[in-house]
């Protein structure tokens, strides 16, 4: 299945968002996720099913002003 992860097309086998994070080796409790422009809370990722062409954003804490 092809997904767009942080702006890049990825071919993955994961069917859920938490499985996708594991497959692509995104690790840690400090990640924030969104699917097609909607927040997916950390506790909801296992129930978040993915579909062909979905856009996923995976963000992390950074320096900011």
């Amino acid at each position: 299945m092809k997904l767009i992860v942080n702006g890049k097309t990825q071919d993955v086998s994961a069917q859920s968002l938490d499985a996708l994070l594991r497959e692509l080796e995104f690790e840690g409790e400090w990640l924030a996720t969104a699917l097609n422009g909607e927040l997916v809370r950390s506790k909801e990722r296992h129930a978040c099913r993915l579909n062909e062409g979905d856009r996923i954003e995976i963000l992390t804490p950074r320096q900011g002003g």
Partner: protein, 257 residues
């Protein structure tokens, strides 16, 4: 003491965490500023990496209040989603709301700002809006549920210092009981003292400290200037006069000729 959404804050300086030469210098600047509130952002994580971990661990170890921002957002939708994602990661309902309207000046899109502030307030956020010094916009933001305002005094990172003292004075005068933090445009400690002497409650700094020759020393200098301006405002300053007034008594002066 300053009250920001029910939290008691004693420092008059909020500090951004970007652009420092090293994490150690950032940590030193946070310490020397005495700040209790530091701003952070959310950015894309690298695949297979955990770049956020090191930074976030350091921030957590400093035990300050964290104020996440929506820097770089240009639409209501972007800003609202970023705020929601920040709340999920940082476990705070505080959000420094930025909705940028112009690439060159980085001035806020105040129309989108008010709309985003209303949506986020209704969703339980405690919004710190980065706004201009416009009085009407300030009123709309308060109507939208903001309990704190963060007007600029000059464009972000410009170091120009307060450009419109009249507007700032007017803003302070119209909303005497609203906590107001000057966010953006300060370049040197005298700028900080100037806006604090106008009665603003605190300042938010990043570039002026991070890009100084010695950020740790500059953070301390800004903290002292902010405190000095704050104390002066409450001490009652002398108004300027057009004529000289001798400070030494004239009565009793010797006559030599």
């Amino acid at each position: 003491m300053l009250k920001l959404y029910e939290k008691q804050i004693f420092s008059r300086l909020l500090l951004g965490t970007a652009q420092y030469p090293s994490p150690a210098i950032l940590e030193g600047a946070i310490e020397s500023s005495g700040t209790e509130i530091i701003t952070v952002s959310l950015r894309r994580e690298m695949m297979g990496g955990n770049s956020g971990n090191k930074f976030w661990s350091m921030i957590q170890s400093l035990a300050r209040h964290v104020l996440p921002n929506t820097a770089g957002c240009h639409t209501v939708k972007e800003a609202v989603l970023t705020a929601q994602m920040a709340r999920d990661v940082f476990a705070t309902d505080w959000i420094k709301l930025e909705v940028i309207g112009n690439h060159d000046t980085l001035q806020p899109d105040v129309f989108a700002l008010v709309e985003a502030a209303r949506i986020l307030t209704e969703d339980g956020f405690k919004v710190f809006p980065y706004t201009t010094d416009d009085l009407t916009v300030a009123e709309r933001l308060l109507d939208a549920g903001c309990e704190v305002l963060m007007p600029w005094c000059a464009p972000i990172g410009s170091a120009m210092g307060p450009l419109n003292l009249h507007a700032l004075r007017s803003l302070r005068g119209h909303f005497p009981n609203v906590p107001m933090i000057i966010d953006a445009g300060l370049g040197r400690p005298s700028h900080a003292a100037t806006v604090m002497e106008l009665g603003f409650d605190a300042i938010l700094l990043n570039t002026a400290v991070a890009k100084a020759g010695d950020p740790v020393a500059m953070a301390g200098a800004f903290a002292k200037a902010a405190e000095a301006g704050h104390a002066a405002y409450h001490a009652g300053m002398l108004e300027p006069r057009d004529v000289a007034v001798p400070s030494t008594p004239v009565i009793g002066k010797a006559v030599f000729s």
